[in-house]
Symmetry: C2
Subunit: 265 residues, 2 copies
């Protein structure tokens, strides 16, 4: 199968124009099919504050009311997404900026109200993404750039976690491509010693993962990220890499980059 890289970046890349510039240059240099997924950043929070929209949190979870949805549609879908696309074009990468509404690429269901009403939040399920649909866009020569917005197919835009979008895209497209999912975060990878940025664990398979959990080397905050990664791998994703955006060029140069999770080392 043809290789495909799906790369997710968050606020630590988006909020720093220099980091973003270098990342987008390295992303462009990466050969073969690729998809970029980006989260939000400080801009959405700043705009909300300026507009007097209070951030609503219940049990530490963010609530997306209609005003917040407007802000994220403007900032994620407009400002951040289109500036990323314009920069990618500058580097010669024929990017197209997308929400999940565009091309009906990611159709989600508004999260049902149980104890908490999360507001306009969309949950992805196994029917949310048609890989053939996204493949058609890539085969036509375009690089998809997704922001963290989806739709319900009934005309409603919905806020959806960017990590989840990246993972769902990877699982879906693994049916058509040899898919590697890359999460860029603030560390160089999963570390043996949290205080030593160079103590990167280069490879983890499910057996090693169990050992690292038993030895409590992998700490609590990393557990959901890695659990989700191994779920994606069990659903057909070739590998999940967790690393720092400024080291992405090592992927192109076939040098060690971040921590590589896969079925077997």
């Amino acid at each position: 199968m043809t290789p495909l890289h799906i790369i997710k970046i968050g606020g630590n890349v988006i909020d720093n124009s220099e980091n973003l510039y270098h990342f987008l240059k390295d992303f462009t240099a990466l050969e073969g099919y690729k998809i970029l997924v980006h989260g939000g950043g400080k801009v959405a929070t700043q705009l909300s504050e300026t507009l007097g929209i209070e951030a609503k949190l219940v049990d530490g979870r963010r609530i997306t009311d209609i005003e917040t949805l407007r802000v994220v549609t403007m900032v994620y879908g407009g400002l951040i997404n289109k500036n990323i696309v314009a920069q990618l074009q500058r580097f010669g990468n024929n990017a197209i900026g997308l929400t999940g509404a565009d091309g009906n690429f990611i159709r989600t269901k508004k999260r049902p109200v149980k104890t908490i009403d999360y507001g306009f939040v969309g949950d992805i399920d196994e029917k949310s993404i048609d890989p053939q649909n996204i493949s058609r866009l890539m085969e036509a020569g375009f690089t998809p750039v997704f922001c963290a917005i989806t739709h319900d197919g009934e005309g409603q835009l919905l806020n959806t976690n960017a990590d989840t979008i990246a993972s769902a895209l990877a699982v879906s497209l693994a049916k058509l491509y040899s898919t590697t999912l890359v999460y860029c975060f603030e560390k160089k990878g999963v570390l043996m010693d949290i205080n030593d940025e160079e103590s990167i664990i280069r490879d983890i398979d499910p057996v090693r993962y169990e050992e690292l959990k038993l030895k409590q080397i992998i700490h609590s905050g990393m557990l959901p990220k890695l659990d989700n990664a191994f779920t994606a791998i069990s659903c057909g994703v070739k590998a999940v890499i967790i690393g720092r955006s400024d080291e992405l060029s090592q992927l192109k140069n076939k040098q060690p980059f971040g921590t590589r999770l896969s079925k077997s080392i």
Copy 2:
């Protein structure tokens, strides 16, 4: 050649959710290839006011400073564009929302500073649009929805007049498709009597246009619109129709719709 309709809507459709709903339904029902181009609306002005950004005008022409560019990127490229796309998807139209940066579809040049510095405004020229590039997206099954933003190919987004974008798309795509350009505006068409909404002139060719100008039936405000329309026609566009958005369904039903400008009646 395969028929293509390029339809431009402005604030009078965008600002009224009921008008927009019906227009998008009728747009979806229109058979064959189609492209939607939309301008702004009151939302951008309102957001600018809320953010304390003063509208800057020189000689009645709007200046796009960096703050205004941020607002239009958020509102045109995010809020309006993505909500239109989500609604089109609801009607079963596989729309993709775009700026000219996406897919490098419209590459413009920042307007040179002469007596006035218009700021971040992009001017279209004959090299701005590659029709094959847009054709690839349409042939892949997607309906392009353009907002009034372009880019310079060097990473800079630029504000560009939506009427001009629609006309330039039509001229470029006329090389590949039998292209009809439709401008939706507040009147049912070009009127014989400005006070009689039913006095629509159904067909105008260049000869009739000269007569109507001589008789001063076509008033000053309409002249640039019609001049541009006939320029587009002389560049290969099959016809330009000027009409009201709520009558678009008449186009599908092959009934008279608006005023039709063409090479010969």
